[in-house]
Assembly symmetry: C2
Homo-oligomer: 321 residues x 2
């Protein structure tokens, strides 16, 4: 019988575990939303139990698995399989999650950053199929990314390569990133910047059609609200979306100059802004790249769907296949 | 007898050809400064003649060579061995230099960008020895770079990867790069920015100890002049050097976040500013990277010496060895 894969996607709000065929089809999955309340050991046990539950209810044995891939939010020391730190879950300072899971299984367990895992999933089963190099960017509250070079993930020394979100593109910006630095791409361009950008437009005297109450808490401004603004042709929402698109376009241009990839794939929540957003990203990129782009670079949207995280995680054991 | 290598370094002002051992020792070399006046075919003939001259006068035959490596200024389409464009030499639009040289030799001829070649030379025989990944930056009038990943050059789709000098770090800067874009790293940080930066300080009312005549042509401000300023403790020269160091530090930080390499090697004319400059680069980098640097990254100075260009070119045929 053909072997199958197991993927575990550990996010800030959701823990997903799935069984998947080697051609990228989900066989079965389970999703928990209570993992953030648990200790490191509690989460480890929950992951193990979910894997075993899925194997049992689908009549598989551990030996039917090629391996278990774990994509986890936060910074991962790849070679050692250690979570260095996670900003959106309590604890997890230097926690050896890979070995903690591995202790219950004989098949290989691989732990990587969730953006790397998603990049690999997209490369194997999504928009990246057939390419040799690819950069994957996921744009939501922050910006995560994964780099594929010669069909493999480039992880760098520690395993934290691909942090394009923390590259600085406005050194003297008044927008400060969660990392503490000024003018990181993610601080000026994506979800975390939206409340500030909206308030700035209000202070400039711009009028929004969103008709927010006078006591509105601007920290609640997010991509979904601006999508509503876009849908009702709100000029303030549209300006902010265009500003974000310009910065992401500059970010992609910088990636183009640095790595000269043939494909850039975009995913993440802010892509729900659709062609209005994507058009601005592409326009900014092509205006900057102009005659320095000697071969066409493709900018595609992720097409792997809502299971991208767990599909990516499950593809980690077959990275080198 | 052990095989040897031949390197050809084509710059804007100098054409160097050398024979080298496989351990990176120059056997003999010749340098011409009249190549910029020649046609594409004229330069091709000059390169061929210099290679043959060096072989003859050192009693080598073509079959003693492992290969000929050419490092050339400008944009190179690596796979096709074509010069796409050179900004500091006339002509050379889509000129197939590799095949033009290859037509006279049986041993393999490899053509690459000069910064890539230098990066490889530094990796094989200089500061990069013993590392797995390395980013090489050469900072002079512009900024060139080469990326080594898993002991090989990463060239990207066309072959133009490593153009960190054209990554944008001040999108609304009033400094325009030779490429036409605003706020490229090289436009704000290196040789081409110096005249503008000096004039700006003058307009701000700063007083330079360099005592330039009132009719001084500020476009003549270069790294050498600021080195004189540094040596006499000129506050204006020192401020500009610190500003440049800050930008290069940010550029290196961005490379760290993007690629997480274990080593960054710096070369090029502006390094003559010494520890005052290097200290500012390192300080800026470490202040930004702080607790996000989980493994130590080394920032070293190129130690391959004045023959770096031709040593790099000669190392191209043994890239995969």
């Amino acid at each position: 019988m053909e072997k199958i894969l197991c993927g575990v996607d550990i996010g800030g709000t959701k823990l997903s575990v799935a069984l998947m065929t080697t051609s990228g089809k989900i066989i079965d999955k389970c999703i928990d939303c209570d993992h953030a309340e648990k200790t490191e050991c509690g989460l480890t046990d929950q992951v193990k139990a979910n894997i075993i539950k899925l194997l049992h209810r689908n009549n598989f044995k551990e030996s039917d698995l090629l391996g278990i891939g774990i994509g986890c939010t936060g910074h991962i020391r790849f070679k050692d399989g250690i979570i260095i730190t996670i900003s959106n879950l309590k604890g997890y300072k230097c926690y050896p999650l890979r070995d903690a899971i591995q202790s219950s299984f004989k098949i290989p367990v691989i732990l990587d950053n969730d953006a790397n895992a998603q990049a690999l999933g997209e490369f194997k089963f999504g928009a990246g199929k057939g390419f040799n190099d690819m950069i994957f960017l996921t744009i939501s509250t922050g910006i995560g990314a994964g780099i594929i070079i010669n069909k493999r993930l480039h992880r760098g020394m520690t395993g934290t390569a691909g942090e394009f979100g923390h590259t600085i593109i406005e050194p003297d910006s008044d927008l400060i990133c969660t990392c503490g630095n000024k003018g990181c791409l993610m601080a000026v361009a994506c979800g975390m910047a939206l409340p500030h950008l909206f308030q700035k437009k209000m202070k400039e005297g711009k009028v929004s059609k969103l008709r927010l109450p006078s006591d509105f808490d601007y920290t609640r401004i997010d991509g979904k609200l601006l999508k509503q603004g876009l849908d009702i042709d709100d000029p303030v929402s549209k300006e902010i979306i265009l500003d974000s698109g310009r910065y992401v376009g500059i970010g992609i241009y910088n990636i183009f100059q640095a790595l000269n990839p043939s494909l850039i794939v975009l995913g993440g929540g802010l892509l729900s802004w659709g062609d209005f957003y994507l058009g601005q990203i592409r326009k900014t990129f092509y205006e900057l790249a102009r005659d320095m782009m000697y071969d066409p670079i493709e900018i595609k949207v992720s097409d792997i769907g809502p299971d991208a995280g767990v599909i990516g995680a499950a593809s980690l054991p077959i990275e080198l296949c």
